[in-house]
């Protein structure tokens, strides 16, 4: 596979630099070292720019990928968690609270998948139930009431498909969030950090800007789900991932997201601190830009942003 070959090529070059550095002597000009380093960087960038949708899906789902709690720890101060939907339960798959971002009080909301088996079970693999979406909305309304901007971090395979979730109105909870987020009178800054799984992701992802980490995905259906519908074969997920156009570059081109946030070499899972450092200035820039807008303008801008999404032919002949 071409992908593996190119990865080997990069590794060989990196080893060469290491060797040269170890041998460092006046005979090896610094310029030569620089040249090889530049070549490596170019190859790496090229390599990452050409990851296919399925490779990105695997990175997006990597268990070591930074989670909402990691971003909270690395980017926010004074995080104060808020629990429960005041109606049924607290949903551990959804983390919500207030915190400070560069000194400014804000609300933070995000899904939490869990890293090891124990955490995954406790967090229900990041699949929220209605109480999770209702808790998120409750916190967003607090933020709206006190004029606090909202940051959301999206990382979920989807809303939980189970008997209890249906009984308690999964669809209603999601629908309500979509409608209410459209009119929340404070800036909403959304970042898709890993898996943006359909309605369960969108329910905390209606905002003034939607950023995607370089290797995250955002899709109406999982590639496996799509493959099992089309070919009755979930193992064709690789093909489905490509067909669905779920990668950040594809979605930017389709005009569905606002910005791609670069990840450290090799992917966010390799370096949480570096990932946070790359994300931080993006969040800060958007926040500065959005808090300047008067509320009516902010809301009109948000409405128009979604209003424009979707392509169609206006005057086609129907066969």
């Amino acid at each position: 596979m071409d992908h593996k070959r190119r990865k080997r090529e990069i590794e060989q070059l990196e080893k060469k630099v290491e060797d040269l550095r170890r041998l460092a002597s006046p005979q090896i000009p610094e310029a030569e070292l620089e040249r090889v380093r530049a070549e490596i960087n170019f190859l790496k960038r090229d390599f990452h720019a050409h990851l296919d949708a399925w490779q990105r899906t695997q990175l997006a789902r990597h268990p070591q990928r930074p989670s909402t709690l990691d971003y909270i720890r690395l980017l926010f101060a004074d995080f104060t968690e808020i629990h429960g939907d005041r109606a049924f339960a607290d949903d551990p798959a959804m983390v919500t609270g207030m915190a400070r971002f560069h000194g400014r009080p804000v609300a933070v909301i995000g899904q939490q998948k869990g890293r090891d088996t124990k955490q995954k079970l406790a967090r229900n693999f990041g699949m929220s139930k209605p109480e999770g979406y209702r808790k998120a909305l409750r916190v967003m309304k607090i933020a709206g009431k006190f004029g606090r901007p909202i940051f959301t971090f999206v990382d979920t395979p989807g809303a939980y498909p189970g008997i209890d979730a249906e009984e308690r109105g999964q669809a209603e909870a999601i629908a309500r969030n979509l409608r209410e987020m459209a009119r929340l009178p404070v800036p909403i800054i959304v970042t898709i950090t890993g898996e943006g799984g359909s309605g369960g992701a969108l329910a905390i992802a209606v905002g003034d800007t939607v950023n995607m980490l370089e290797n995250s995905i955002y899709s109406v259906i999982s590639p496996e789900g799509c493959a099992s519908i089309i070919w009755r074969d979930a193992s064709k997920a690789e093909q489905a991932a490509a067909a669905l156009k779920i990668s950040a570059p594809d979605l930017l081109e389709l005009g569905l997201i606002d910005e791609i946030v670069p990840e450290p070499d090799g992917g966010a899972h390799l370096n949480h601190e570096a990932t946070a450092q790359l994300l931080d200035p993006v969040l800060e820039r958007w926040l500065k830009e959005l808090v300047r807008l008067p509320t009516p303008e902010l809301l009109d801008r948000r409405y128009e942003k979604y209003r424009r999404m979707g392509q169609f032919m206006e005057q086609a002949a129907i066969p």
Binding site: R183, G199, L202, L254, Y306, M309, G310, Q311, F312, I318
Partner: protein, 282 residues
């Protein structure tokens, strides 16, 4: 030649359209619910409700408008069609699927939006067509519903949306998903404008349509026996690896759990809507 064809059980999105199509050759239909053999003509005259057991079969988008409007109606945006934005190909190209559905049904996509009169009251009504790629919502359905909402707001006319859909349209990927946000944002404005919106959920209403406009009515009402849910029954069964309880995700189940305002038989639907709007507006 068979004298009757067995009507298939309503199935959620994962079934290919060819298997899903209701078979209507033959002059007779065996009712799926009471197993009585019903003359097709009788079923049609009774708005696709079994005269023996009142089982509600699917009603086409145009027939639905005939049921609700007093007479004719003014259709909106009839010529909006999909551009196949992803160039999507599964077992056949999406453009082929679209052309086949358009040819079969004589409509541009899975919804008719129209202005007309219901018991002499002018209103905007959207009616979904399940026969068109499972009534799925892509950019065209999302745009037509949004325009209908904006028209209702502009004219201060009540809005009725009759849903019948497997959810967001897979072949338009994330564009379909964004329609949920687009339509819901428009409904937030309609809500603020204090224009009434009645959502009618019919068999089946699942996925992204339930998780957006179908659940956002001032009143959410449904037809008896309709399958309504977020996740489809098959997906849930695969996740929890057990059989679903009897009556799970039916209109009656949702009524019992507090997510519907009423279950209204088709024959009473028009009267129910007219009365509700009178109580809201008169």
């Amino acid at each position: 030649m068979a004298w009757f064809k067995r009507e298939k059980k309503p199935i959620e999105q994962p079934t290919p359209p060819d298997e899903r199509r209701v078979r209507t050759e033959g002059l007779w239909i065996k009712c799926d619910s009471c197993r009585a053999i019903v003359w097709k003509k009788d079923l049609e005259n009774n708005w696709q409700v079994c005269p023996k057991c009142q089982h509600h079969f699917k009603l086409g988008a145009t027939r639905r408008l005939e049921l609700l409007f007093d007479g004719g109606w003014l259709e909106q945006d009839a010529h909006l069609t999909s551009t196949d934005p992803l160039g999507f190909v599964d077992t056949k190209p999406y453009v082929t699927r679209l052309k086949e559905a358009q040819k079969k049904l004589g409509m541009g996509d899975a919804i008719i939006t129209a202005e007309g009169f219901l018991n002499s009251r002018p209103l905007i009504c959207c009616s979904m067509e399940f026969g068109f790629i499972g009534g799925s919502m892509g950019a065209v359905v999302g745009e037509k519903v949004t325009r209908a909402i904006e028209l209702a707001m502009e004219k201060k006319l009540p809005l009725v949306i009759v849903s019948c859909s497997g959810g967001a349209r897979m072949m338009e990927g994330t564009i379909s998903l964004m329609q949920l946000a687009k339509v819901s944002a428009a409904l937030a404005r309609l809500d603020e404008a204090r224009v009434p919106y009645i959502s009618v959920l019919t068999d089946p209403t699942t996925g992204g349509v339930t998780a957006s406009y179908a659940m956002l009515g001032d009143l959410n009402i449904a037809e008896p026996g309709a399958l309504i849910g977020f996740a489809g029954p098959r997906v849930i069964e695969q996740t929890i690896r057990q059989k679903l309880p009897e009556g799970f995700q039916t209109a009656e189940f949702l009524l019992q759990h507090g997510f519907l305002d009423a279950v209204v038989p088709r024959k009473d639907l028009k009267t129910y809507i007219a009365n509700a709007l009178d109580l809201f507006l008169a």
